[in-house]
Symmetry: D2
Subunit: 131 residues, 4 copies
Amino acid sequence: MSHNTARVRVRYAETDKMQVAYYAHYFVWFEVGRCELLRSLGSAYRELEAAGFMLPAIEAHCEYRRPARYDDELTILTHGRLLSPARVRFDYEVQRPADQALTAVGHTVHAVVDRDGRPTRLRAEIRKALA
Amino acid sequence: MSHNTARVRVRYAETDKMQVAYYAHYFVWFEVGRCELLRSLGSAYRELEAAGFMLPAIEAHCEYRRPARYDDELTILTHGRLLSPARVRFDYEVQRPADQALTAVGHTVHAVVDRDGRPTRLRAEIRKALA
Amino acid sequence: MSHNTARVRVRYAETDKMQVAYYAHYFVWFEVGRCELLRSLGSAYRELEAAGFMLPAIEAHCEYRRPARYDDELTILTHGRLLSPARVRFDYEVQRPADQALTAVGHTVHAVVDRDGRPTRLRAEIRKALA
Amino acid sequence: MSHNTARVRVRYAETDKMQVAYYAHYFVWFEVGRCELLRSLGSAYRELEAAGFMLPAIEAHCEYRRPARYDDELTILTHGRLLSPARVRFDYEVQRPADQALTAVGHTVHAVVDRDGRPTRLRAEIRKALA
């Protein structure tokens, strides 16, 4: 199991007429979180794809605790762990350091597939890091 | 409990470099589904907000079964039901009629709050329809 | 030169904290407009891409006249015309039928390239329709 | 006239099936650029809005030179200048430092309005900085 912290700032584009961040964008921030986690493990997701590994989401979940607002700086704490050689789960906590609010928690589950969409084992070094 | 079917066509903007619809956009389609359900019940969400009721998401969940692709016509079958006078749950099935594929299933849970963010009871006629 | 009218309804996801549609989304609606125009000419953009023709944007422009709001039904009137055998321009008018407001006008210019990114001539029947 | 450089990394969410950044997202990066420019001048856009000044876009333009790809680090060089006491123009250059490619250039023009949407003069210190 590995973890990493990424940072985003809420863009105006990500707000909605309720004047808070629109709920679907948290899943984009989750993407930022898991990509930075993979990068910290030495395998940027871009390189994984170039090497023929793809991690499509098969499940996504988020619980919204406190609204995030325009221009808020948020941290995404991401934990990753292997569910099986061909399945990975990431857990996320989206925090706002300014007031130490936990704005949301969630998780995603990803299959590991090759270019033809067939299940495949993730690289050994990442499997080891996420074990 | 009430249900309704909405339609969307996958936009190029909604695809990603895996050449399928990006996972976060399903939550946007869920939004289309629940708004059309509320409209079918006689209370467009726009009117609910104008009357001082807001339904922020407090939970969102999606399971991805088959990738949706650019230009696919999808139907979003939405069921709504009241969890409490101030809480509503919507369940969604995103289907692709062309090959009868079920691309995703999911749900969202929403609080009902007034303009000051305080929990409030949804209008009686909607509560009745979603009971 | 050809034209076509497409319809969209402003999604909550497309609004921002100014409580109007965020400016970048008009370019997504332009995409809807030009895709429906191509479809009306007998060549859905999906089929063009499958046949090896891609139309990346090389220029995009929009002038915002009146804000579009959540749940507004908008029409996108799109005109297309060939600038050269390998270059196409689309002009757009985004109108709100409810109050006959012209919310925005704009245009995009697209190169026609093959799968390797090399300039190529668009199919003869589309060139003819857009001449 | 003032300028500033902001940084973004292309998100998977921002790519499309052509496997490059979708054209509308450049306008979101422009937003990042102008907000960081305003912040560097001492008036974060969030504070401007809180003080009753809003800068809705009235024109947006982009020319795409080289595709930006997933995970690319981009810099947005933004210049701002006052067109009139109630109108501001920002010019943008989106560069990819890794290969010194200029991926896009563009500009946006913004009205300065108060909470009721009436034209108003921007704060003197910002007008001075952008003069």
